[in-house]
Point group: C2
Chain length 458, copies 2
């Protein structure tokens, strides 16, 4: 049981839970404030989630989009970074209870608390789908998907059964928002341009890539023109776009989809979840402690200044909160809320007690890539497509990465992935993760030999 050191007891103590976009921006906005900041995260890195799909498809190494969190905050001397998981928050005594991975417990007293716990996948009440259709929220998720996607071709190559090969070479992406569109585009690139000449028994160009969404369009929040362009570009790349289509059943071997035309079952070993999100359980914890409720997506309602109702020493920001103006769950919102809250805490720590202007989101626009060299950008009236959109997308995403090393390294891997090289530099798979456990168990039962397959180096 540890408490903060003696030298830290005098100054205003800010505890920030979560080292994602919101948490880091809060800390940075407090750079010059006379406060002691503790940032707690249960991972050791600051993750750039929008590029996770590039890890899942072998373009980027995980390290490029996940620098060490304490490195990111290294030069800010009023911040200490702790690798720990929050267990409970005592709003009355103003203490965060946390535990390190080795079981060490900590009590972290705060004067001001900022909770930026983010969100995870939501399977709309079908948690059993999670193992068959993993999503992409963490580096571990992206590594698992990389193993499933690249592993599917490996297993198809070994198979001598055409039906089984087809099942391995059918990829279904659930959700046609930016993440789903970007992933489907890259799956097409892999199948058509990266892998073909590496295989002998299968023709990877025959892989089926199916992108489905319950909405009547891809990229729902984008302009109509861009939606049409995106759908056409994907279809030109061989992606089957199924709209107005909801998943009704997912198991190890297949996915069943319901649309106005009826139900259809796709035999597909690799399914990816890019649909619903669910706020961090920290939202429900705070709601319970303050006697409020979370919404259907598990999000906590906050006041216009991002503080908890009637509790101005606790702020919550990012994907885990809902605001009156229904902001989208994107990095920009979390970052702007973090910067806003940081400034607010800084001025309050100087004794300023005026009521702050409410948080206002400045929507810089949205973008999505569609494969290797097309993208759409919808930025405050400016609508860009194709190669120009892709260049704009590259510029924006590289600039938002942290550190010149990660920026240059990412650019370098993008050049490697262009069509002249047709490579993906980061294709490691975990052998154990290549297949859905359910499938393996079944095969083992049916198998004619008794030897086990131990996990290989991966």
């Amino acid at each position: 049981m540890a408490t903060a050191g003696h030298d830290r007891q005098e100054r205003h103590k800010v505890v920030i839970v979560g080292g994602g976009f919101g948490g880091v921006q809060t800390a940075k906005a407090l750079r010059k404030a006379d406060v002691d900041i503790t940032v707690i995260d249960r991972t050791n890195h600051h993750l750039f989630q929008p590029l996770l799909y590039q890890v899942a498809t072998g373009i980027l190494s995980p390290g490029l989009i996940a620098p060490a969190l304490r490195r990111v905050l290294k030069t800010q001397r009023n911040v200490r970074t702790l690798l720990a998981e929050v267990g409970d928050i005592d709003l009355e005594r103003k203490i965060v209870h946390a535990a390190a991975p080795d079981g060490q417990h900590m009590d972290l007293p705060y004067d001001t608390l900022v909770v930026a716990g983010g969100a995870t996948h939501a399977y709309f009440g079908h948690d059993e789908w999670a193992e068959h259709a993993p999503g992409m929220k963490s580096i571990e998720d992206a590594r698992l998907l990389r193993s499933r996607i690249l592993g599917a071709y490996e297993l198809a190559e070994v198979s001598q059964d055409p039906a089984e090969q087809e099942a391995y070479m059918t990829f279904v992406v659930v959700g046609a928002g930016p993440t789903g569109v970007e992933l489907a585009g890259q799956l097409s690139e892999l199948a058509r341009h990266v892998l073909p000449r590496e295989y002998r028994s299968i023709d990877t160009r025959k892989a089926r890539i199916i992108l489905l969404d319950g909405a009547p369009t891809v990229l729902p929040p984008f302009a109509k023109k861009l939606q049409k362009y995106t759908q056409k570009t994907l279809e030109d790349k061989g992606v089957e776009v199924r709209l107005n289509s909801m998943a009704t059943h997912i198991d190890a071997d297949s996915i069943t989809v319901k649309s106005p035309k009826g139900e259809e079952r796709f035999v597909a070993r690799t399914k990816v979840w890019a649909a619903g999100v669910q706020a961090s359980p920290l939202a429900a914890m705070l709601a319970k402690a303050t006697g409020s409720e979370v919404d259907r997506a598990g999000r906590l309602a906050v006041d216009p200044d991002c503080s908890l109702p009637e509790r101005h020493d606790v702020y919550a920001i990012g994907d885990m909160v809902s605001t009156i103006d229904r902001l989208p769950g994107v990095a920009q919102v979390a970052m702007q809320q973090g910067a806003y809250v940081g400034k607010l805490i800084a001025s309050r720590s100087r004794g300023d007690d005026t009521t702050p202007a409410p948080f206002k989101y400045f929507d810089k626009g949205s973008m999505a890539t569609i494969g290797a060299r097309e993208a759409v950008a919808d930025a405050r009236g400016l609508k860009v497509t194709g190669w120009l959109g892709y260049m704009l997308w590259c510029y924006v995403h590289v600039m938002f990465l942290i550190g010149w090393g990660n920026r240059l390294g990412t650019l370098f891997n993008w050049v490697r992935s262009l069509r002249f090289a047709r490579n993906r530099g980061h294709r490691l798979i975990s052998v154990r993760a290549t297949y859905d456990e359910g499938i393996a168990a079944e095969h083992h039962r049916a198998g004619d030999a008794g030897h086990e397959i131990p996990e290989a180096a991966s």
Copy 2:
């Protein structure tokens, strides 16, 4: 149950088990031969083991030293690559039995078989040490070590108990061959130059790094002058070098070492095994099938042409075999044996039945880095140290990597790791792997709160 396709039944069939240095060189030497080659590996990548320590210390991303095996062999049209684990080899019927990760079984008939299964760690009869002192033979090993090494500082930062902090900040490397020396040098760089300003509660420069070996010198096969230089350079970097010292006990918290001066116990949470190696179990399998014996390191004796005694259709090469002239277990030997065996098979497949000249190893020399900018090289009489040695080491290692992308990417990361940047670009850790399970269990038992720590994104 699958057999090779119909179109492959006419030509001479070569099956190569293992896609490491030996296996890949065998396949490449058969590039122009009129044979059908199948390369089986239980991972999907060709691993450049000599740089694993740079993955373990965050310099390189795993993908840079582990390109996809089928990518490496992509343009060689007479090769197919299979992700599978060999279960049994039937030398009489000339069939390799293998299984894919999903449980699919394969029978691979061969005319000529080449087994290049490599080696793994040996704990001298103390297999229980493996979990407390992991070694470095696979990407998974290196990732685990990275989690332990970087995680140790994270856990020390959380701790408020000086004795516990010291235990976390004591690193013991067992084995002062090239791998142990290189790792100890990098541990010193991390502690002294990379991490210091990132921590608030601990001074990482106070970390203890202990390098021990049972031999009376570091780098036993190197020239005496280079041994002395290496030891002095390491000691200048704060590494405690303990020679004539054998590990007698290793557990989660400590390592006990016996030397002529008596026994000493170091309280150290992070131990790394860079000592003994043990041949792949495939060596014992082949020995049993041919009625021969393996040596103490589990290696199979082969004839001067690398074939099994009285069985000229089966070759074994690399770390899993022993030859009369006691070759070292290094990449160069496996590569040269692979090239030799490949040429031999090619000429035999053309009907050449003359007795081949025995395999002869051409020793190009040995090298090892000592930290960030020194290295020693002992190459056929030429002895180089310091910065020049480091440049030579960089050149040789970059040239042996496969693919311009991996070469440039590696060089780029080396520049990032130099002292002006003082960064390590690839520092992801798995939270669950940060601590030795034994420690965690104990902490949980002693813990004052009941909540579990689920695995975080990692």
